[in-house]
């Protein structure tokens, strides 16, 4: 790309003008203009949730539980605050764009939720700063840290610094449809030990009429679900990784193995290649699983909690607890997973961060921790279960749901996280495209070479590529 690394005066003027001039004005989104008309200290919190829409529970919990209690508690301490919730409820990309624009204009909510993988790019753009730089020494005093395991805490880290508090995490497993397994003569306590075991089970399922044996997400239409539920669990299962430090792996034997697995699935009728192309393909895979037309599905615990959950799911299964089995994703073969593991998983999660421009850093941090108290998390979950960031909460909450207990106890110890680097989204897209090509019939080795070239394009040269 032959970048002329020169910041012209004009660049500075045009790109800088907006934010510089903004520093002075108190637009409604400007946190530093944050004095309520009644003299109260005004704070705002934003997540990608909205009452009556996407993540409605979360929105209602923040509005009706967290905020009133936080305001009352502050008042008891003699501080008059007013907290506003800024809901969104849109696609993650759009939510991210909006936050980035707000932060660029040195405005935006005081506390906000980011996807863990955005940390790097937001930090590099100086949209966010390490937590202790924003909130000061009080950060370390928060009692909650002891309950958050270092592994989960790493979700909120970038280049060794902590930027916020993680808001729970998740895990990826293989789901299987027990009645179909029974009909095909497969065990109800299925736990594959290798990729070969998965393929064997799929071949057996293939004998059933009208059943797609296996769904491993592929292609660009599935978006991040392809990378998260497909490529990365397989890659770590083959002992590979996508990045080390700030350098990315290119055409590696592990990647070729992953693409070879995709070939075996989609070229021998074990998966439905059309489904990988459809704009609503993922929704359809959910429906098919719920209707007993899909045998094995690699998904996150979200699938269990929100999709096939008997009462509230979008593709509810009345007999979920009886009919749905779950197993860890096996490594390619015993001990071949990353770090010599037999099984692997992938995890992600949101992180709550502070706006570096907040006018009331102490209160903003207090609000941040209020979102992560044990009581607050228990109130949030009610009767539902979820893997939260706090061990003390998990200990009691997960008892309600053996599946989530399984995720926390079995999957989390072998899980990996995605690198929080700015280039991640582009690399992830390149991986999705590679799987799409294999599904469309190209040879894995050839596609892996193509991926290497695509990486060069995306990263602007080979400096950041290994292999």
């Amino acid at each position: 790309m032959g970048v002329v690394a020169r910041r012209t005066a004009l660049t500075a003027a045009v790109l800088g003008a907006g934010s510089a001039a903004l520093a002075g004005c108190g637009s409604p989104l400007d946190p530093r203009g944050g004095e309520g008309g009644d003299g109260a200290m005004a704070l705002s919190v934003a997540t990608n949730a909205v009452a009556g829409g996407k993540n409605a529970d979360e929105a209602e919990w923040i509005e009706r539980w967290v905020i009133p209690r936080f305001v009352a508690q502050q008042r008891a301490e003699g501080v008059d605050v007013r907290v506003e919730f800024q809901p969104s409820g849109v696609d993650d990309e759009q939510y991210k764009t909006k936050l980035a624009l707000d932060l660029k204009a040195q405005a935006g909510p005081d506390v906000m939720a980011l996807d863990g993988i955005w940390l790097g790019e937001f930090a590099q753009a100086e949209y966010i700063r390490p937590l202790h730089e924003v909130a000061g020494s009080g950060v370390a005093d928060w009692s909650g840290w002891r309950q958050i395991s270092p592994k989960v805490r790493s979700l909120a880290r970038f280049e060794g610094k902590l930027y916020g508090i993680p808001a729970g995490t998740d895990a990826r497993v293989l789901y299987f449809h027990k009645p179909l397994f029974r009909r095909a003569g497969l065990p109800a306590d299925w736990q594959p030990a290798s990729w070969q075991d998965i393929l064997d089970a799929a071949r057996t399922l293939k004998r059933l009429d009208g059943v797609t044996p296996l769904q491993i997400n592929a292609g660009t239409a599935m978006g991040e679900a392809t990378t998260m539920q497909g490529v990365l669990p397989l890659l770590t299962g083959a002992g590979g990784r996508i990045a080390k430090g700030d350098r990315w792996y290119g055409d590696t034997p592990e990647l070729r193995a992953v693409l070879g697995f995709y070939r075996d699935v989609y070229r021998h009728g074990l998966g439905d290649p059309r489904l990988q192309q459809e704009a609503k393909g993922r929704d359809k895979s959910f429906e098919q699983f719920a209707e007993g037309r899909l045998g094995i599905l690699a998904e996150g615990d979200y699938f269990w909690r929100d999709v096939i959950s008997p009462g509230t799911g979008t593709a509810p299964m009345k007999q979920r607890d009886n009919d749905v089995g779950y197993a860890l994703v096996p490594a390619r073969a015993r001990h071949e997973g990353i770090g010599g593991r037999d099984h692997v998983s992938l995890s992600g999660g949101a992180v709550h961060v502070l706006n570096p421009n907040t006018r009331h850093p102490r209160q903003a941090f207090a609000l941040l921790t209020a979102l992560h108290s044990a009581r607050a998390l228990r109130a949030r979950l009610g009767d539902a279960a979820m893997i939260t960031e706090r061990d003390d909460v998990n200990d009691t909450v997960l008892e309600k749901d053996p599946m989530l207990r399984f995720c926390a106890d079995k999957a989390l110890p072998v899980t990996s996280f995605r690198p929080p680097l700015a280039a991640y989204t582009a690399v992830s897209l390149a991986l999705q495209e590679a799987t799409a090509r294999v599904v469309a019939g190209r040879e894995p080795d050839h596609v892996a070479q193509g991926y290497r070239k695509e990486l060069e394009e995306v990263l602007g040269g080979s400096d950041h590529i290994i292999g």
């Binding site: 934010s19 004005c25 409604p28 764009t97 929704d283 979008t314």
Partner: protein, 278 residues
């Protein structure tokens, strides 16, 4: 091909034409069927079927905290933009039609081309920073002005074309009687070009009504979100559509534009060129 001489051929032709018309009618009607069935279905799916009738979806929508209010926001945005676009483009188009300004057509077309940049996604940062600078973030006015700026060139383009075809003789005689230009415009030109204004107005409302990106980027308070933005929130964490809410809201969301269209077409006529022929 020739004018059919015998009645049998004429009949055949007539049948052929009506067959085509019937097909066209079906082509336009069929995709809309879902809007008529899904909102009333207990378990709306993607398939059009005779609904398992219920009004529960409407009740759910009514209880949704944002749905009904968002229509009011949409009305404000669409109404404000329509007034501005119609008013400003009528004035400009009239002047441009009646008085020659050098480079007029070139300028108009250049603006039309530029408008395609601003309506695209690449311009969002400049638009956002501009709005922030003018303190127009989270205000209806900001959205209205940005949208109006994007729609004006095409509106002027259409209206000027329209004004070019209207006869000048009335204006000349009014002028002889000493009417001021504004008065001439109001009393003579506007009545003649009313269907054109109506068309541009409806077009503006339809554009603003469906616009997601600009209000999404510029508005912050949840109670200001228009329907186009709220429509996008009826998805789950994993991006699955809540079809009961979406179908029902689609119907409600479409209704105002349909009513407006019916009203405008009754009241003002709805075509490009008016009744008076010179």
């Amino acid at each position: 091909m020739r004018t059919p001489a015998n009645p049998a051929a004429a009949l055949l032709r007539g049948v052929g034409v009506y067959l085509l018309v019937a097909l066209t009618l079906a082509f336009f009607a069929l995709p809309m069927l879902w809007l008529a069935s899904a909102p009333f279905d207990k378990h709306p799916g993607i398939t059009v079927s005779l609904p398992d009738f219920t009004l529960a979806n409407f009740e759910r929508l009514w209880n949704n905290p944002n749905a009904v209010d968002s229509l009011a926001s949409s009305l404000i945005l669409a109404g404000g933009s329509a007034v501005l676009v119609v008013g400003l483009s009528a004035l400009a188009a009239y002047a441009l039609s009646r008085v020659h300004i050098r480079g007029r057509d070139g300028l108009l077309y250049a603006l039309l081309l530029l408008s395609s940049i601003v309506t695209g996604t690449a311009a969002m940062v400049p638009i956002f920073l501009l709005a922030a600078e003018l303190d127009l973030v989270d205000s209806y006015l900001g959205v209205v002005l940005v949208l109006t700026g994007g729609l004006l060139p095409a509106a002027i383009f259409i209206l000027k074309d329209f004004m070019d075809t209207t006869p000048r003789s009335y204006e000349e005689s009014a002028r002889v009687f000493g009417a001021s230009p504004l008065r001439v415009m109001k009393d003579i030109v506007v009545p003649v070009v009313r269907p054109g204004l109506a068309t541009v107005g409806v077009w503006t409302v339809a554009q603003v009504w469906g616009n997601f990106l600009i209000p999404f980027l510029l508005l912050r308070s949840p109670d200001k979100s228009p329907a186009a933005v709220v429509m996008y929130t009826f998805y789950t964490e994993g991006g699955q559509p809540d079809l009961a809410l979406i179908s029902t809201f689609s119907l409600l969301y479409s209704l105002p534009v349909v009513l407006m269209f019916l009203f405008v077409s009754r009241r003002y006529g709805f075509r490009f060129h008016g009744g008076i022929k010179a």
